[in-house]
């Protein structure tokens, strides 16, 4: 059965698009058929991070409005044959999205893919509420920083009240994905640690993506980080997170860039 998942955060710049691309690619590498959908109408970037910016012909708005059929707008990834992108429109604005139209497109995507990953725009306006409207699960991307945690809390409240599932009295399964985490700084008490964030948000953890130069390198060349350098720390963390999404039990560690980091972290966290 298809699963629809939103990658959301409230706050901008925390890594929603990077995470959508990386999780989508990791799920596809794991054999799932995946479509990543850009809901950031007017400010699309998922196409750029996926390296498909020159192949966009039709977009989500065209499909919502019936100007194009879904298969015409879907772009197949050049590296993974079971990974697809439905881009957002760059010229329209978010008001062109309608609740019914989005529901129809999501319904159609459900019949074609195992996973539909909706990349939410920042904020709590129409684009963000429609990105979460029809989902079964949510990944809340959070940086270990006060403003990001506060916005995540707000988004969690919206997932529990404004989604179709919530309105039917069902649950949206929520996961926190912590990005740009620096274990060394957290151990020194300079950065909120994982336990603090989870306790405050009262939401289970999907994964911890360490701060890494590999993330920027991957977006520079338009390749999801899990494909660009599979051995890098963030790539391993995203692959672990994708396996947890598929229901596997994977031990929660922060993949480290260098040896020694992890030992120190584990030593401190065990205390």
């Amino acid at each position: 059965m298809a699963k629809v998942l939103v990658v959301t955060s409230g706050k901008g710049g925390v890594g929603k698009t990077t995470s959508t691309a990386a999780l989508g690619a990791a799920l596809a590498q794991g054999g799932q058929s995946v479509c990543v959908v850009d809901f950031d109408v007017g400010l699309r970037n998922l196409d750029l991070v996926m390296g498909a910016e020159r192949r966009v012909v039709f977009d989500l708005i065209n499909v919502v409005q019936g100007v194009a059929k879904l298969p015409q707008a879907l772009i197949r990834d050049k590296r993974l044959e079971n990974l697809w992108l439905l881009p957002a429109s760059q010229t329209r604005d978010k008001d062109a999205l309608t609740d019914d139209g989005v529901g129809r497109v999501i319904g159609e995507l459900r019949s074609r893919f195992d996973w539909i990953l909706c990349d939410s725009p920042a904020g709590i306006e129409r684009g963000a509420t429609l990105a979460m409207r029809y989902v079964d699960e949510a990944v809340i991307v959070t940086n270990p920083e006060v403003s990001s945690v506060r916005d995540s809390d707000r988004i969690i409240g919206m997932l529990d009240s404004k989604t179709v599932r919530a309105e039917r009295g069902e649950r949206v399964e929520k996961h926190v994905l912590i990005t740009r985490y620096d274990p060394t700084r957290a151990a020194r008490g300079e950065m909120l640690n994982i336990d603090d964030i989870l306790e405050i948000l009262a939401t289970p953890l999907l994964g911890i993506i360490p701060e890494s130069q590999d993330v920027l390198k991957a977006s520079n060349v338009g390749t999801p980080v899990t494909l660009n350098n599979a051995h890098s720390a963030p790539a391993r963390a995203y692959v672990d997170a994708s396996r947890r999404l598929m229901g596997e039990q994977v031990a929660m560690v922060v993949p480290a860039e260098r040896k020694g980091f992890m030992d120190r972290l584990l030593g401190r966290r065990a205390a």
């Binding site: 920083e145 006060v146 945690v149 506060r150 809390d153 707000r154 409240g157 957290a186 020194r188 008490g189 300079e190 950065m191 909120l192 640690n193 603090d196 405050i200």
Partner: protein
């Protein structure tokens, strides 16, 4: 570089506990507000309806606030009435009698 060395050897104030505490206080407040908003709206409407039976009120001058304290919370109801409210009350009673 010298700053780094200083920080390495000098005492370092951990700031994460401050962040954690500020967030906990703030979110307890904000979650309360979001959950309570419907209750306060309902209370305000019903109070307005009850008092309006006897006194003519400007609906905008009825303010209902909830302050959450550690042990006790207070519900503050602030209603501004016009100076001639007893006249309008008398008129209302006359109307009810008639």
């Amino acid at each position: 570089m010298s700053m780094r060395l200083l920080r390495l050897f000098g005492g370092r104030e951990p700031t994460a506990p401050v962040a954690r505490e500020r967030l906990q206080i703030l979110l307890a407040h904000e979650r309360g507000l979001l959950g309570q908003s419907d209750l306060l709206v309902t209370l305000r409407e019903e109070i307005l309806a009850v008092v309006s039976k006897h006194i003519q009120l400007d609906p905008d001058k009825v303010i209902v606030k909830l302050d959450r304290g550690k042990t006790v919370s207070t519900l503050e109801v602030d209603i501004e009435v016009p100076n001639n409210f007893d006249k309008s009350k008398a008129a209302a009673e006359k109307r009810m009698a008639g």
